[in-house]
């Protein structure tokens, strides 16, 4: 099962790489068939990744997030799923050019990490709360990745249709907003579930642990985005810039804390 999982993840990497190339080809040539194949292969990549994670869960007996390898693959999965869900919304497929490579980079990164299945330390054992906590986080991260992709394109497109193959600014703004309004409540849930767990495990629901703090910061940035556009009228570029900053914070929450800082969550690090 463990082997199978590795094969699946590798197959998924290949599929997603092919899909990304097809997306580029499609956006360059506007060839419909190429676009369709890109989507199908992206779905295939997502399916491989799903099987990979499922077989790893069966092999290890716990959810795929006990170390950085599993966590990264899960993040990539969240991105692919969020992306394919959004592609149906968007009339254009060009977002794939930007978003899929993020998933590819994550998979590439995961391939440099030790992929052995390790036993769990007590705090992580048979914990339903933790499983939901992380599963929801993966979706929220996926949404934030999509909003990042569309915000970057928005910044390029904001002053008139500069790049013909990209969607227009309005569509991009729409995608950003929709992914954020899915991501924000999900991520609120992540933080709250984390707090519930912290309260059970350590007797405090909030302790300014680096991971907790980074998550809160990330959430606050997206909250700033929502307020900026709905309340202060800072639409357009300023709010798109907030989304780029938000994604940097997301990446920091995901990697930085585990790799550079110590704290209760560093269990998921490399050590």
């Amino acid at each position: 099962m463990e082997k199978m999982s590795l094969y699946m993840v590798t197959s998924s990497f290949i599929s997603l790489a092919v899909a990304a190339l097809l997306y580029i080809w499609h956006t360059a040539t506007k060839n419909e068939d190429v676009g369709k194949s890109a989507t199908i292969i992206a779905w295939l990549g997502g399916a491989f990744l799903t099987f990979g994670l499922v077989s790893r869960t069966i092999a290890s007996g716990h959810g795929p997030f006990s170390n950085m390898y599993e966590y990264s693959v899960s993040f990539a999965w969240g991105i692919v799923v969020s992306y394919v869900a959004f592609e149906r919304q968007l009339k254009s497929k060009s977002l794939g050019v930007l978003v899929l490579p993020i998933a590819l980079l994550l998979l590439l990164y995961s391939s440099t990490l030790p992929a052995d299945i390790e036993p769990l330390v007590p705090a992580l054992q048979n914990n339903l709360l933790l499983t939901i906590h992380v599963a929801v986080a993966i979706f929220a991260y996926g949404m934030f990745s999509v909003s990042f992709g569309s915000a970057v394109m928005y910044l390029i497109q904001a002053d008139g249709q500069k790049v013909s193959w990209m969607p227009d600014a309005n569509t991009l703004d729409d995608v950003s907003y929709k992914s954020v309004i899915l991501g924000v409540p999900l991520f609120a849930l992540v933080i709250i579930l984390g707090a519930v767990w912290g309260n059970v495990a350590w007797g405090r629901y909030w302790g300014w642990d680096p991971k907790e703090t980074a998550s809160l910061v990330t959430w606050l940035i997206y909250l700033g985005y929502l307020h900026a556009r709905s309340v202060s009228g800072w639409k357009g570029k300023p709010s798109a810039v907030l989304l780029v900053i938000g994604f940097v914070a997301t990446l920091f929450t995901f990697f930085g804390v585990n790799l550079f800082l110590s704290g209760l969550h560093s269990y998921a690090g490399l050590g």
């Binding site: 036993p119 007590p122 924000v184 609120a188 495990a201 007797g203 300014w208």
Partner: protein
């Protein structure tokens, strides 16, 4: 926000007469720009706190310990250390100016919310039904339904009723007025969900109430050590004991902990009233006080006899403080000014020797190392190392604010979902003998046009 929203609260406030400063303060706190600046500032400072090493909570109020800690950190931060220290960046989540930011945000949220109340209620419960005629000519989303004169004019009232029924079918709430034979109406869908932001912002205030309740009415001790077989008197006016009967730890082959647990017994009024095996994710709760498994360590049982062969000490001693390479504990010998220092190598077990040193103040009087069941004479005493047991380290917490915090969290998510997922749609209309004029608008991001067109179709049929 419009100018009228901003001033609507001021209408019948008595303070208005004398207090201009109050007025400007109010205006300052009702600014939504301030909210964004505050949210982002708090985010930024929290971020700093995650980057800069934070002083452990236990030493923050102890100037000597803190000074010692500061000198260890100096090697890393160099000259910036003092600047950081003055700014409070080593304890940033407790420093007054960070707390002030949080308090400001709370004020900001409350005042913003209160300020917006009239503007929030108004459109929900008593919306403006009559709008300017020009709206029906200029709104981006509008329609004009010509009424067919089927067998003579139908009364406007009947037409209106049929139209309102069509709207109600689509879950629109209709408000109407009649004037000089013309029926004016306003209809909205999800109008009431506009109050979602109220729920969200209120939840933030409730969250703070919960946090403050924990601080004022609760307590916590991170560092409760109970050797096996011993009982701990719960402090802070609680009237019961907790005894640790046994502690056990299991390890994986690579040495990482697999499981560890303590068997705790609660003794209240001399009776055993509760018994539980606690683990990392399974605390014991009694009368609102929770006992969390936190850490553990060795606790040797040592017997000391004096020259006459009288037992002057026989008890278990937790070796709780360590410098990394060994665990250390002290015995203050009763009736003397002597201290026995016990030390066991880190990771040591019942086969490892226990180092015993006797001190009078700073002066060492003797030392030796013992195996289990061994007796040696050290200084003027016979010391027997009887057994190696364990102590369990608990975190003891009482926090009556927790349910309030969870309530706030639930309201927060609920409020956010209501606000974000149920955007309001609005339609204004005017019904005359000849036609129905319609104008619509919806919150951001609703693709209202198709929905509106369908509605118009339905109304056309009436």
């Amino acid at each position: 926000m419009t100018a009228s929203d901003r001033t609507s609260r001021r209408v019948e406030t008595p303070t208005e007469v004398q207090s201009d400063p109050f007025d400007s303060l109010w205006r300052f706190f009702s600014s939504t720009k301030l909210a964004i600046v505050l949210i982002l500032a708090i985010a930024f400072v929290s971020f700093l706190g995650a980057f800069i090493i934070q002083a452990p909570g236990s030493i923050a109020n102890d100037p000597i310990e803190y000074g010692r800690w500061l000198s260890t950190i100096r090697g890393r931060y160099g000259a910036i250390t003092d600047i950081y220290n003055v700014l409070g960046l080593f304890n940033v989540y407790n420093v007054f100016w960070f707390k002030s930011l949080l308090v400001l945000l709370i004020f900001n949220t409350i005042i913003c919310t209160v300020n917006r109340l009239p503007a929030l209620w108004g459109p929900v419960f008593s919306p403006r039904v009559r709008v300017n005629e020009s709206m029906f000519r200029s709104a981006p989303i509008r329609a004009n339904v010509k009424l067919k004169q089927r067998g003579g004019a139908r009364p406007t009232k009947d037409v209106a009723e049929a139209a309102f029924a069509a709207l109600a079918d689509r879950r629109y709430k209709v408000f109407s007025e009649e004037e000089a034979g013309v029926k004016h109406f306003y209809a909205d869908r999800y109008g009431i969900f506009k109050l979602g932001t109220l729920v969200t912002h209120l939840s933030l205030v409730i969250l703070m109430v919960g946090a403050v309740m924990g601080g004022l009415m609760g307590f916590s001790d991170d560092n409760v050590i109970i050797p096996e077989g011993k009982a701990y008197q719960v402090p802070f006016g609680e009237n019961f004991l907790v005894r640790a009967d046994q502690f056990k730890a299991e390890f994986y082959q690579d040495g990482r902990p697999k499981d560890y647990w303590s068997d705790l017994v609660v003794i209240d009024g001399g009776k055993e009233v509760a018994k539980q095996r606690i683990r990392v994710n399974e605390p014991l709760e009694y009368k609102g006080v929770r006992f969390h498994q936190s850490f553990y360590g060795p606790a040797p049982v040592v017997e000391v006899k004096d020259k006459q062969g009288k037992v002057v000490f026989s008890d278990i001693t937790p070796l709780a403080s360590g410098n990394g390479s060994s665990n250390v504990g002290w015995i203050d010998l009763p009736g003397t000014d002597l201290t026995f220092l016990l030390a066991l190598n880190a990771g040591g077990d019942a086969t490892s020797p226990l180092a015993v040193q006797i001190y009078k103040g700073q002066v060492p009087l003797g030392r030796d190392a013992l195996k289990v069941n061994e007796t040696k004479s050290i200084g003027d005493y016979q010391v027997t190392y009887k057994a190696l047991k364990q102590f369990t380290g608990l975190r003891v917490v009482k926090d009556p604010g927790v349910p309030v915090v969870w309530l706030a969290c639930a309201l927060l998510v609920l409020g956010i979902c209501i606000t974000l997922y149920f955007p309001r749609r609005r339609i204004w209309g005017r019904i005359t003998q000849q036609e129905i004029l319609l104008a619509g608008s919806a919150d951001k991001m609703v693709n209202f046009r198709p929905e509106f067109d369908k509605l118009v179709e339905a109304i056309r049929k009436v």
